[in-house]
Amino acid sequence: MLIELQKLHKKFNKGNVIALSDISFNLEKGNILAIVGESGSGKTTLIRLVAGLETLDKGEIILNNKIVSSNSIFTEPQDRKVGMVFQDYALFPHFTVFDNIAYGISKLSSKKERVEEVLHIVGLEGLGKRYPHELSGGQQQRVALARALAPKPELLILDEPFSNLDIILRNKLREDLLKILKETKSTVIFVTHDIKDALLISDEILVLQKGNVLQKGKTKEVYKKPNCKYISLLFENITF
């Protein structure tokens, strides 16, 4: 078990808004989990808790058999070995592509090879000297992905990976992304409001609504046997 969440609670705004209540789930090494929900469902809060960008109110988060978040323990994000690709990519605008990717690699000796390696994985060989603003949206996303992969994180989190891209690009990138993630044997949590993304890429799905887990299971099983009307409505009108 790579990651375990136990009875997570989180409130916002001085305790008036419940962001997450009683969330528990596990994720095996090498699996891809899609967290699906509308805006306001708490999905972003959930991944921020896992990454260590927020503190929880109750519950535990266990990464690699080590408690990283609880009421008495908090491991800083820099010590969690969790990589993340933000919705806006968050590329460092004053660094080249090469420097962006090299940023998180700690071993000086292997820096250059590792950057070349991940550039190859995401298919951006030869673009190392460019600055982020000289790249297209799709290329920027690949750089962000390469940067997150470079230090070989235990867990990779993707926040709405396709939301800033147009539909044609989106379809192509879904395939590419899946290939990259499987090739690198990454353990992944990715957040989306688009059920289609989840069906095409994930091994498991977790559906969130208003801070509660509606269903969690193997992607195929959830698709075949949705446990409530809300989820079956999500799958309506989806064709392949």
Binding site: A51, L53, T55, S72, D79, V82, P93
Partner: protein
């Protein structure tokens, strides 16, 4: 209450403790002023209430009402004219209208005394003698030197408005004037009230102009209680009352802002279109916007240059140059220290995970709302306390007699400047850092880098323009600061602002021109530089 402390141990990190220390260091003088509202005044308070307090209250109220009216009149209307109408020299007028900010109001006051004096050029040109050394004169001086605060905030608001809103109004059949009065003015209210608050803080902060015109205000009262009556308690009590008035004004503003929080919501919009108007209207409007530029900048500047020509031989001595360098040195040093503390406050707040310390940290930027004279007293109390104890310690345990260790040094002065102008450095840096967003720093953290490394490699390089702006703004403010400097400055050190004040107090008003001009030019250069930096981005 119990809930707050549940995660206290988990969420306290080294940054929380550092932040709390720094907030205390900045906040103690401010907290002490507030505590004195509870302690009560000194012995002379009865005398003050009987003879002077009503005078202070009435005069300050009169000044507030008068300057509010005139700064709004000139600030809002000129902003609307330069944004909306195609008038001659529009581009030049846009930035000329800002320039009066470069002249501190006490210097404008000195120059007005010359302009309207017997044989002054107002009398020569118009053959008219006006006595301006009264309430009305002071209101005009303060209005013409402070209206740019209203102008700048209102103009920025107009530039961000969509043209659609005006076109909608026109399509509904409203004329130009009706559109302005019924639509534009109410919409712009949060903007110009925001500018007006800055004006009022400056009015209540002013010592030099009111003193020179012989008007008793709260601030001159504080000086009187401290220097003439030598009663710190009474001075502080007055100061605390003044701060109370200012906080009431700020609260009122917050309320009106929250009731109507409608800044433009559309992101990509077309700016308000400029319209052509008849030649006569053009000239009338040009003349209108010329009034504040002439009275707030050109006339005072000419008067000062004229005086400087008459007196530079006596004034421009080695001693004067020495003061100029001291002034520059202190201002640069203070600017650096202030920006450093602004960065501490902003970033330690981010790195600390305890919410309530974040709220407490806001105390740090209250200084700008508090008049310089008040901050000076707030700084005096704890530093005097420390000095007394150091002296006692040396006396009792080491058997040595020593004088004040920290009082009367530049350090206390710089400490006070830092508290007073922290918000000036804080705002541009905070705004830029908000614009950068959280995700860059969070990404860096997730890539395994600590907060300090992240700041050095990611945030600092991207914040450089904002940090430069902050340095310049604080530098200019310190160069022209008068009331705080008068109270805290060491005997062996002088600033240009104090030198100008001393000349003016000694009835050597023409001699005050040279230090004044020096302050003005150090103020104009950075404004131009800043304009370039901002327009480049």
């Amino acid at each position: 209450m119990k809930k707050i402390f549940i995660n206290l141990k988990r969420d306290t990190n080294k940054w929380s403790i550092l932040l709390l220390t720094i907030v205390l260091f900045i906040g103690i003088p401010i907290i002490i002023i507030f505590l004195n509202l509870i302690y009560g005044p000194g012995e002379t308070w009865g005398h003050l209430v009987k003879n002077l307090l009503s005078d202070y209250l009435i005069n300050s109220f009169f000044l507030i009402m008068g300057t509010s009216f005139f700064t709004l009149l000139f600030g809002v209307l000129s902003a609307w004219i330069v944004v909306r109408y195609q008038i001659p020299f529009r581009k030049q007028m846009q930035w000329l209208l800002i320039l009066p900010l470069a002249i501190p109001s006490y210097i404008t006051a000195y120059s007005y005394a010359g302009i309207f004096d017997y044989g002054g050029y107002f009398e020569k040109i118009f053959n008219l003698k006006i006595d301006i050394m009264n309430h009305f004169g002071l209101i005009m001086v303060l209005s013409f030197s402070l209206y740019p605060y209203v102008y700048v905030t209102t103009r920025a608001f107009f530039l961000n408005q969509s043209k659609n809103i005006i076109e909608a109004s026109k399509l509904l059949g409203a004329g130009e004037i009706k559109t302005f009065l019924k639509l534009i003015l109410p919409l712009a209210r949060p903007a110009f009230i925001g500018g007006l608050i800055l004006v009022l803080m400056e009015v209540l902060n002013d010592y030099g102009a009111a003193k020179y015109f012989g008007i008793n205000t709260f601030t001159t009262g504080i000086f009187r209680a401290w220097f003439s009556l030598e009663e710190l308690e009474t001075a502080i009590y007055l100061a605390a009352l003044l701060v109370l008035i200012i906080f009431i004004i700020i609260l009122l503003e917050k309320r009106q802002r929250s009731r109507i929080g409608y800044f433009n919501t559309v992101k990509n919009h077309q700016q308000i279109k400029r319209i052509q108007i008849s030649k006569i209207k053009q000239i009338i409007m040009l003349l209108f916007v010329l009034i504040p530029v002439l009275f707030g900048f050109a006339f005072p500047l000419f008067q000062l240059i004229f005086w400087a020509f008459l007196t530079f031989k006596e004034v421009l001595t080695l001693d004067f140059l020495h003061i100029a360098f001291q002034s520059l040195g202190i201002s640069i040093f203070s600017a650096i220290i202030t920006v450093l503390f602004a960065l501490f406050l902003i970033y330690l707040s981010k790195w600390n995970r305890l919410k309530y310390i974040k709220y407490i940290a806001k105390i740090g930027i209250l200084g700008y709302a508090i008049p310089g004279a008040v901050i000076a007293l707030g700084v005096l109390i704890p530093t005097l306390f420390i000095d007394k104890n150091i002296i006692l310690f040396f006396n009792n345990f080491l058997d040595t007699k020593i004088g004040f260790v920290i009082n009367g040094t530049v350090l206390v002065l710089v400490y006070a400047y830092m508290i007073r102008y922290l918000a000036v450095a804080y705002s541009p840096i905070e705004a830029s850092s908000l614009k950068l967003g959280k995700s860059l720093a969070e990404t860096s953290n997730l890539l395994g880098k600590g907060n300090l490394y992240t700041f050095k490699k990611i945030e600092f390089p991207l914040l450089k323009p904002a940090i430069l702006s902050a340095l310049i703004l604080v530098f200019v403010d310190v160069m022209k600061e008068l009331p705080l400097t008068l109270i805290l400055k060491p005997y062996n050190i002088n600033t240009l602002a104090v030198k100008a004040y001393e000349y003016a107090s000694d009835e050597m008003i023409a001699e005050a021109a040279l230090p004044s001009l020096f302050i003005i030019f150090t103020g104009i250069l950075p404004i131009l530089l800043l304009n370039k930096v901002i327009s480049k981005n």
